[in-house]
């Protein structure tokens, strides 16, 4: 399209200019941003030289702030919003969870009452991303063209969708969601090896995640994943805090308890390098008293937790149909893996020294930026990632049972279809419930979407045919379409699980009957053509303003204006054909003008320069 080439004279885009692509590790406790510099990943620092950006969002009556807040009793602070993303209250009740304010559930996701607003975890997470975006763009003095965001490998469809929605809401374009363990393996550059089997052991502040990757000739494949979303280094802190509380027979109020907890964290970090530590207890209001803890004591405290992680690791290994000695490399990820006892336990259990050269806090973000670089086409690396879905997808059948449509650990993208039929004479509707999980009963699995296929032509039981197609994309996000195939009239409806930003929109989509599907597509096409037309109008207006009077005679100028006004009038017509035709007319009439503009800008650039420069 000719108008696409209109650009300000002298400001033409440089095609060789590299665009800015970043990797984001959106963590439960901290988030990180990494970019590529001269072919190597580089983790961004904040003003204080810190690479970890706390994933803490604080709301006040009229402002939002990111980072550790000063307590003032008047604000609402979300400390680990990632735990809430893509979840409803029922999901959350399976774990311990803390909400800083009142909450309720709407459309299957939790909502928080934040002063006068109702906010979803998606909106709150988007504040974290917005902040990262702002800082990155300020530091690098450029606009981010796209990003890769990492998610835990076991994130289900709803959680992935919600993460992507949060990014969209913050104005970031997501090239791909990347599993955290895979990102870590990329950061270690293990693809230089021809063939290897890799275990990634990721123990963060609040989550544990283990994955088995298979690397074969530049292709990474996740063979299996598992984990526990409520197990992490914070639990170590709690153990230490409780230990001190018990040992000294303390009875602390909530505020002091929190101080003790922070003290416990300090102790844990010190015990990484020291065999024993001694700390004062002033902070929790106990004067002139010390407590000392040895590494051995600490190890005893956390032994059970580490054992738990090893059992999960073994299970994940079994899922990949592998034995301990099949593992070629073990990668440690997450700040908590700095704990010497973890390294020791892993090494003795798997009989292999784990890799821990790269800062375990940074490694995921670094891998994400390498992947972003590859996806953007900036890099020539031949790396390819093949991912799997972490949990089976199925639909509820009679008696609350689940029929698995795509089993867990299937490579994605993946599609599968199943045909269902009516079981009553004259049945005109069929209700479909899509779930995700490994349990036999649908009510025990994660409910992803509920919708009804309507307007099935009345037929004898078993004659109507409804074909359900599941399509999972490379981000692990599901799309379901239903198709009634028994008659010649074939209609289709796209259903995305109802966890998106605009719930009302999705809700409407779910409610909309079968027969509305065609209208939906037309509506979308119309909207697209309007957007396109508006863009054309905008660019012609700005061009005319700059040099319209200089490059066109009065007649030509009026002709273009008339064509433009005609298009503006037609925008209201709700007729796509009409709009598209007017766009074409405007473009045709403007052709001469556009070529004159291009010539004039070339002349402007060349003016005053030596002819030799153009040879």
């Amino acid at each position: 399209m000719a108008l696409l080439q209109i650009s300000e004279p002298g400001k033409s885009q440089n095609p060789h200019e590299k665009k800015l692509y970043i990797g984001i590790d959106l963590g439960t406790t901290n988030s990180l941003v990494s970019i590529m510099r001269n072919g190597s990943p580089f983790v961004l620092k904040n003003n204080q030289g810190n690479e970890l950006f706390p994933s803490i969002v604080t709301y006040k009556q009229d402002s939002v702030n990111i980072g550790e807040p000063k307590p003032d009793g008047e604000s609402i602070t979300f400390r680990s919003i990632k735990r809430f993303i893509g979840k409803n209250i029922q999901d959350l009740k399976k774990e311990e969870f803390y909400s800083p304010c009142e909450y309720f559930e709407k459309n299957n996701i939790i909502r928080f009452k934040v002063f006068d607003n109702v906010l979803s975890p998606i909106q709150i997470s988007s504040e974290i991303l917005k902040n990262l975006k702002k800082i990155t763009e300020k530091t690098l003095d450029g606009e981010i063209s796209g990003c890769v965001i990492t998610v835990p490998a076991y994130f289900d469809d709803a959680q992935r969708q919600a993460t992507k929605d949060a990014a969209t809401l913050s104005g970031l374009k997501v090239l791909r969601l990347l599993n955290e363990p895979t990102a870590a393996a990329i950061a270690y550059g293990l693809q230089s090896k021809k063939i290897s089997k890799i275990m990634v052991y990721d123990l963060g502040g609040g989550t544990f995640d283990v994955s088995i990757l298979d690397l074969n000739d530049g292709v990474y494949k996740v063979l299996s994943t598992g984990g526990n979303s409520t197990l992490g280094g914070d639990d170590f802190d709690k153990k230490i805090a409780r230990y001190i509380e018990k040992k000294l027979n303390l009875n602390l109020n909530e505020e002091k308890k929190h101080e003790l907890y922070l003290l416990a964290k300090e102790i844990k970090i010190m015990l990484t390098n020291d065999a024993s530590v001694k700390v004062k207890l002033d902070k929790i209001g106990i004067k002139n008293k010390n407590i000392s803890i040895t590494q051995n004591e600490f190890n005893e405290l956390i032994k059970d937790l580490i054992q738990k992680t090893l059992v999960i690791s073994k299970q994940v290994l079994n899922d990949a149909k592998m034995k301990i000695d099949n593992i070629d490399e073990i990668i440690l990820v997450g700040g908590s893996t700095r704990t010497p006892y973890i390294k020791f336990m892993i090494e003795s259990y798997f009989k292999k020294k784990p890799l821990s050269d790269i800062n375990p806090d940074n490694v995921v973000a670094m891998g994400a930026s390498i992947q972003a670089d590859i996806l953007s086409g900036n890099s020539t690396d031949e790396l390819l990632l093949l991912d799997v879905i972490p949990l089976s997808l199925g639909i509820e059948t009679m008696g609350d049972l689940v029929e698995v449509i795509i089993p867990r650990n299937s490579t994605i993208p993946n599609s599968s279809s199943k045909e269902y039929t009516t079981f009553k004479d004259g049945q005109s509707a069929m209700s479909i419930h899509i779930v995700q999980g490994e349990r036999d009963l649908a009510s025990d699995c994660r409910s992803l979407a509920n919708f009804t296929v309507k307007d099935i032509p009345p037929m004898l039981a078993g004659s109507a045919r409804v074909n359900l197609e599941f399509q999972i994309d490379a981000d692990g996000i599901l799309n379901v379409s239903a198709r009634e195939t028994s008659t010649n009239k074939v209609t289709e409806v796209q259903v995305k699980p109802s966890y998106g930003i605009s719930d009302s929109e999705i809700e409407k989509m779910l409610r909309d009957s079968f027969s509305n599907a065609k209208e939906d597509i037309e509506m979308r096409n119309l909207k697209e053509s309007v957007v396109e037309a508006e863009r054309v109008i905008l660019s012609i207006n700005s061009a005319l303003k700059i040099d319209g009077k200089d490059l066109l005679n009065e007649n030509e100028y009026n002709e273009i204006c008339n064509a433009r006004d005609n298009l503006i009038d037609n925008l209201q017509s709700n007729d796509r054909e009409n709009i598209l035709n007017s766009v074409k007319d405007l473009e045709k009439i403007s052709e001469t003008y556009i070529s004159r503009r291009m010539n004039s800008s070339i002349q402007k650039i060349m003016k005053g320069k030596d002819i030799k420069e153009y040879k």
Binding site: L175, N216, N318, G377, L384, L386, N414, S416, Q471, A474
Partner: protein, 171 residues
Amino acid sequence: MINFNQNYFQLFKIEQSVTIDSISLEKKYFELQKEFHPDKYVNAGDHEKRLSLQITSYINEAYETLKNDYLKSVYLLKVEGFEVGDQNNTISDPEFLMHQMELREEYEKITLSKNSEELKNFALKIERLKNECLLSFNRRYEKKMYNDASIKIKEMKFYISIENDFKKDNN
């Protein structure tokens, strides 16, 4: 780009046979993935993106079918025009039915006993029976005795189901 009507063997350019060299199959699979994976089309138009999604889904389905002995056997017959549906899955051979019941009884007994040696031996036995069944399928298939071969698929399915139950109960 890719012809969705070709069968999985044609897609991977390998000979249609009961025996597949898994290493060269995997190599072909990776080659196709490297060409069509959505990661290669991040900056492409919507149409190309959708196509890439469909093609890689198809490649994944094909690979997972050929990699798995049971699915591959079912597919081989399908290519020859013999659909082994989920519905008509009853085994009518009285001898095999007896064999089936005996194995189930043995299984119940061993699961209750929780004797690890016996459990291990039973798992090995099922594995052996399943492999014999596969070999027998292969022979019948190669002789183009498709109807007889389809009986073996049903038997294979039984061994797989008892194997799965075993894994579930004893993990």
